[in-house]
């Protein structure tokens, strides 16, 4: 934990900064000399919220993670107020999950502190400089090559290609014609109607989606298909209408 000097309206106020809501809770527990296994939730919740308010007053951005924890504390507090079910075999302490998380986080925080010490010491240890042998280009130990390197290599190649061929990527792109998509959708519907739109769109790339969308609008406009959506954000169904279309005319709708 570090102390950040925050200057507001002429006077200096020192507010400790924390590395997340769990860090803040641990701080409060320590400060109040509270038994972590018997946290007075109401008191800690008040102090936690007071800290968030202080942050707000200082116009510090409060991350969603802190707000989520505040809600969780209130939830636990409300559960603590409920009368205990005496008949239940084992009464689950509403605080149990939070205590577990705090204990776990505290351990990793301690590991991080020991890593921090090592980090400082080991930063001062320098190896021999890398030398290329027989003028060979740089190599990577295969056991150290990860997906990250693979993606990075692919990106490097594509970026270089793009620089060398300003137009070529555009040319190589598979063009999806609106008419093709109209035909594909229409033929699918001939086999089976209605179909789920989501199913038809699955696995398509962006260009295809655009072509499908345009084609679908044309088909609707021509009265060949209909779209139904049962509820807001619900599944969209695509169905044939009783109005047959002339597929040979689809090409008219291709735009360049």
């Amino acid at each position: 934990m570090t102390e950040d000097e925050i200057s507001t309206s002429g006077y200096q106020l020192s507010l400790p900064t924390f590395h997340g809501p769990l860090d803040l809770l641990l701080h409060l527990i320590k400060q109040n000399e509270i038994d972590i296994y018997d946290i007075p939730i109401a008191r800690i919740t008040d102090q936690y919220n007071a800290y968030l308010e202080a942050m707000e007053e200082l116009d510090l951005e409060i991350a969603a993670d802190y707000i989520y924890m505040a809600a969780m504390l209130i939830h636990i507090k409300s559960k603590m107020l409920l009368p205990r079910d005496e008949t239940a075999e084992v009464t689950e302490d509403p605080r149990a999950e939070l205590v577990n998380r705090l204990l776990e986080y505290q351990r990793f925080k301690a590991v991080a502190e020991s890593f921090a010490e090592l980090d400082v010491v080991r930063m001062g240890v320098w190896p021999r400089p890398a030398v290329s042998h027989n003028g060979e280009p740089a190599e990577i130990d295969m056991s150290e090559v990860s997906l990250f390197d693979l993606i990075d290599a692919f990106r490097t190649a594509l970026t270089r290609y793009k620089v060398n061929h300003p137009q070529a990527i555009e040319l190589k792109r598979t063009l999806h014609k609106v008419s093709d998509m109209m035909a594909e959708l229409y033929n699918k519907l001939k086999e089976k109607s209605p179909i789920r739109l989501q199913w038809f769109l699955e696995g398509r790339d962006r260009d295809e989606l655009i072509a499908i969308f345009l084609g679908m609008l044309e088909l609707v406009r021509l009265g060949g298909i209909s779209l139904q959506q049962g509820e807001l954000f619900g599944e969209i169904l695509v169905a044939m209408t009783q109005n047959p279309l002339d597929e040979s005319q689809f090409a008219v709708y291709d735009q360049r």
Binding site: Y37, Y105, P127, R128
Partner: protein, 196 residues
């Protein structure tokens, strides 16, 4: 002069990353035991007689490296700032991955209580973490592991050289009373099954 030892010194000298016992033994046509013995002797000799660098057993191999006390001299001579120190967020994330690998970003976020994606990116870039496949759960999140670079950076030879997680954390508060133990369902047992 001992020929094996001289050859080992030559190879170590030109290598900037740890060299494994096996690769040394293979290249020199010697038994690994004999090579290991010589390496120990080189290390002892350097520790006693040479102030500027030492032989360390790290990242699963051996490498020559300077000693921490010369950091200032080196920085000054090479007018280099050196790498910046790792942030607390980065160290926490490393700690979690070190003990729980392979682990996904959502799992890390859950333990830290905050979003860790920016930190993960920094650690990937510094090669202290690597992506090691995907977890077969909804969303197929990437799995992260520590790298050899991580071991070297922290002077570890093997991930198993880390102290047990239980040895960390002066746990705040009183020892658990029995009914709390029952309520919480002691979880610490789940903590130590960290094996690569």
């Amino acid at each position: 002069m001992n020929e094996l030892r001289a050859a080992l010194e030559a190879i170590l000298f030109v290598s900037n990353e740890p060299v494994t016992l096996d690769s040394l033994a293979e290249a020199l046509g010697e038994k690994p035991d004999a090579v290991a013995k010589e390496l120990e002797e080189i290390k002892n000799f350097l520790d006693v007689n040479v102030g500027g660098f030492t032989l360390e057993h790290t990242g699963g191999g051996w490498r020559l490296a300077t000693r921490p006390e010369h950091e200032d001299v080196l920085k000054k001579y090479f007018a280099r700032k050196g790498e910046s120190r790792l942030s607390i967020a980065a160290l926490e994330t490393l700690a979690i991955v070190a003990y729980r690998q392979p682990i996904t970003a959502p799992e890390i976020n859950d333990i830290r209580g905050v979003n860790s994606s920016a930190v993960l990116h920094t650690l990937l870039e510094r090669r202290l973490l690597r992506v090691a496949g995907r977890k077969e759960v909804v969303g197929s999140p990437f799995l992260y592991r520590t790298t050899r670079e991580f071991l070297i950076h922290f002077g570890l030879n093997d991930i198993r050289d880390l102290p047990r997680l239980e040895e960390f954390g002066d746990l705040i508060g009183e020892p658990m009373s029995d009914d709390v133990v029952a309520a919480i369902g002691v979880q610490s047992a789940a903590v130590d099954d960290q094996t690569e």
